[in-house]
C-alpha cells in the first residue's frame, strides 16, 4: 500500500465507483493483474469501504439506558482517576461489552445527556432489551476528553479509551463494532479466504 501514490489511489477509488471510461477500466484491470502492490491496495480500499453508518444507527439507547450507562461509566472514570488501575481488578468476567459509551468524563458528574452529539433518530427508537448496544454522547465544553468505554454483559465498565476529539471517539467506537462484527463473522465461517499464495 505504501508504494501506491495518491494518483493511483484515486484511480482505484474511481475504478471501484465504476467511474472510469471503458479504456481506463481496461488499463486499470491490466495494471491490477500485473502489479501485486496495486492489487493489494485495491483489497485494502475495499476493506475501507465497510459500512460505517450501520454502527451508529444500531447503537440506540433509550434515555434511561443512556443515563444509566453514563452514571456507571462516570463511576468507573472517577474510580480510575482516584485509584489508578484498581478498578481493573474489580472486573469479574462475563461477556465483554454490551455497550460502547462515548462521553466526556468531566461533565458526567453534573450534566445532562447532550443529544447534539448523538444521532437524533437514536432517541426515537424502541428501547432494546438489556444488555443492549448503547452509545451515549455527553459533552462538557470545559473538559476536552472523550472516552469510549466497553461494558460487559452485567453492565460493568471495562477498559476505557480516552480521546481528545469527539469525532475520534465516535470513529473508534465504530471501529470497535467493526472489530466485533468481523470477529463473530469469522468465527461463524462468514470470512472467506479469497486471495493467497500457493
Amino acid at each position: 500500500m505504501n508504494a501506491i501514490g495518491e494518483f493511483d489511489l484515486q484511480l482505484l477509488e474511481d475504478y471501484l465507483d465504476d467511474a472510469l471510461s471503458p479504456a481506463q477500466v481496461e488499463h486499470v484491470a491490466r495494471r491490477l493483474a500485473d502489479e501485486p502492490e496495486l492489487a493489494l491496495a485495491m483489497h485494502e480500499l475495499r476493506a475501507a469501504r465497510v459500512l460505517r453508518a450501520a454502527t451508529w444507527r444500531t447503537l440506540e439507547p433509550s434515555e434511561a439506558e443512556a443515563a444509566d450507562v453514563a452514571r456507571r461509566v462516570a463511576t468507573v472514570v472517577r474510580r480510575t482517576e482516584r485509584m489508578g488501575h484498581l478498578w481493573r481488578r474489580a472486573w469479574v468476567g462475563g461477556g465483554i461489552a454490551a455497550a460502547v459509551g462515548v462521553f466526556v468524563a468531566g461533565w458526567l458528574l453534573h450534566g445532562p445527556v447532550d443529544s447534539a452529539v448523538h444521532q437524533p433518530q437514536a432517541r426515537e427508537t424502541t428501547p432494546t432489551p438489556v444488555p443492549s448496544p448503547t452509545a451515549i454522547a455527553i459533552r462538557q465544553p470545559a473538559v476536552a476528553a472523550f472516552h469510549v468505554a466497553l461494558l460487559d454483559s452485567q453492565g460493568n465498565v471495562i477498559p476505557v479509551q480516552k480521546f481528545s476529539k469527539a469525532d475520534d471517539a465516535r470513529q473508534f467506537a465504530q471501529d470497535l463494532m467493526t472489530y466485533e462484527d468481523r470477529r463473530q463473522e469469522a468465527q461463524q465461517g462468514g470470512a472467506m479466504l479469497v486471495s493467497d499464495r500457493f
Partner: protein
C-alpha cells in the same frame, strides 16, 4: 425416507415455482395442509437423520480470527489503552454484543456489503454478513429453522461449532481453521456427541486454506456422515446446517450457493459439502483434506509459485472477460520467478479454470485440488480469450 421424499420434493418445487402465495392462501385447506404436514415431517426427519453424525464442538477463538478482527482498530494502534488492547486480543472469546452483528440468519446482504481484509501472512479475507433473521415459526418445508433438541449443557461447555463424524475411528471434521497453539496446553477439545454426552477430542490438524480442522474422539457416538462428491445442481432442494449451532434450513440451491453458509445436505441425507457464501468445498474434497491431516498432521500442498485471487461473481474483472461468462475462476496476480508456475509459462492475469481436470471455482476448491498433487499436473487456463492447457510440475511438500 428417500423414496417418499424425492417425489414429494418435486411436487413442492412445482408449488414454489407456481407461487408460494397460492400455497399460503390455501394452507388452511385440508388437502394442502396435510401435504404441508407430510412435507414438514419429511423435512424434520431428514434433519434428525443428519443429527446422528453431528457433534457440537467448543473451539477456542482462532488466532487468525483475532488478527483479522484487530485490523479494524489498527489505525488506533499507537494510542490503544493497554488494558483495552489486552481485552480485545486475549479475551476476544467474550463478545462485544451488538444487535446487528450476530443475527442467526442464513441469507446474505448484497455483495456490496462485503469487505476484504488482508492479514499479513494469512492471505486476504472477504466477509459476507448474514442479513435477515429467518422466522422461527415458519414451516420447516418453507425454510423455517430446525433446531437440535435442547440439551442441558454442562458447566463450562459452550459449543460454538459443529463437527461431522467421518469414520468409525472417531475423526471429526470441523468447518473452521484453528491454529494448534490456539488450543493452549492440554490435548482436549470439548465436544458433545449426537447422544448429547460430553466428551473430549484430540487435535489432529487444521488447514487454513480450506478452513477445516480435524479432531478425533476415542469412542465415537452416532453414525459417520456420507460425503458426496459434487456440488448440488442448480434448483436442487438442499438442507443447510449452520456451522455454529447445527440449526437446519431447507432451501433451493441457486447462484452457486451464494446465499448459503453451512454444511449442505442433499435430500438423501448425504453431505454434499461445505458452502460459504459462494465458495464450496465438496464432501470428497473434505475427505481428501482429512486424509492428509490424518496422515501428516497437515496438508502437504505442492507449491505452485503464484499469488492467486478468487474472481467472485461481482468482481469487475469479470466484465473484462466476456468469455468467462458467469463461470468462477482463480486469477493469477503474480508469478514468482523460477517457481513451478514460472517454468510452466503461467502469467499474471491468467485465469485458472481447472486443476488436473477438476474445476476450480474458488480458493478452497483450488486449495483442495492441488492438495494431493505431485508431479506433472495439467491446468486449464483462460488467457485472453483462449482456453489453453498448461502442464505444471508440482512438487508436494515433504
Amino acid at each position: 425416507m428417500h423414496r417418499t421424499f424425492v417425489p414429494i420434493c418435486a411436487v413442492l418445487l412445482a408449488m414454489i415455482v407456481g407461487g408460494t402465495r397460492i400455497l399460503h392462501a390455501q394452507a388452511g385447506g385440508p388437502t394442502t395442509r396435510s401435504m404441508l404436514d407430510e412435507l414438514n415431517r419429511e423435512t424434520t426427519a431428514l434433519y434428525r437423520q443428519a443429527q446422528t453424525g453431528i457433534y457440537r464442538v467448543q473451539l477456542p477463538q482462532p488466532k487468525w480470527v483475532n488478527a483479522f478482527a484487530m485490523a479494524a482498530v489498527k489505525r488506533w494502534d499507537k494510542q490503544l489503552d493497554p488494558e483495552l488492547r489486552r481485552r480485545l486480543e486475549q479475551d476476544a472469546a467474550n463478545p462485544i454484543q451488538a444487535a446487528e452483528v450476530a443475527p442467526a440468519a442464513p441469507t446474505t446482504r448484497p455483495s456490496s456489503d462485503s469487505d476484504t481484509t488482508t492479514v499479513p501472512g494469512e492471505g486476504t479475507y472477504i466477509v459476507v454478513r448474514p442479513r435477515t433473521v429467518m422466522a422461527e415459526t415458519r414451516d420447516p418445508v418453507l425454510g423455517g429453522r430446525l433446531q437440535p433438541p435442547p440439551q442441558t449443557q454442562p458447566a463450562g461447555f459452550t459449543p460454538n461449532n459443529i463437527g461431522l463424524l467421518l469414520d468409525a475411528d472417531g475423526h471429526i471434521l470441523v468447518p473452521l481453521y484453528v491454529e494448534r497453539d490456539a488450543l493452549g496446553p492440554g490435548p482436549a477439545v470439548k465436544l458433545a456427541g449426537p447422544d448429547g454426552a460430553l466428551t473430549t477430542a484430540k487435535f489432529i490438524g487444521s488447514d487454513r486454506q480450506t478452513n477445516l480442522t480435524l479432531l478425533q474422539v476415542e469412542k465415537p457416538a452416532g453414525r459417520p456422515v456420507r460425503l458426496g462428491s459434487s456440488r448440488p445442481e442448480a434448483g436442487a432442494l438442499v438442507m443447510c446446517l449452520a456451522t455454529t449451532d447445527g440449526a437446519g434450513r431447507l432451501s433451493i440451491w441457486s447462484d452457486g450457493g451464494a446465499q448459503e453458509n453451512g454444511v449442505i445436505l442433499t435430500t438423501d441425507g448425504q453431505v454434499a459439502g461445505i458452502a460459504r457464501y459462494g465458495q464450496f468445498l465438496t464432501g470428497s474434497a473434505c475427505r481428501l483434506i482429512a486424509r492428509q491431516l490424518i496422515e501428516y498432521g497437515s496438508v502437504r500442498r505442492a507449491t505452485l509459485g503464484v499469488l492467486i485471487t478468487e474472481i467472485r461473481r461481482d468482481d469487475l474483472p469479470r466484465r473484462q472477460q466476456p468469455v468467462l461468462g458467469v463461470r468462477s475462476a482463480m486469477r493469477i496476480d503474480q508469478v514468482i520467478a523460477n517457481s513451478a508456475a514460472d517454468k510452466a509459462g503461467l502469467r499474471a492475469g491468467d485465469l485458472v479454470l481447472a486443476v488436473g481436470g477438476e474445476p476450480v471455482s474458488d480458493l478452497p476448491s483450488f486449495a483442495a485440488a492441488i492438495a494431493a498433487r505431485n508431479g506433472p499436473t495439467e491446468l486449464q487456463v483462460l488467457r485472453g480469450e483462449a482456453v489453453m492447457k498448461v502442464s505444471v510440475d508440482l512438487q508436494q511438500q515433504k
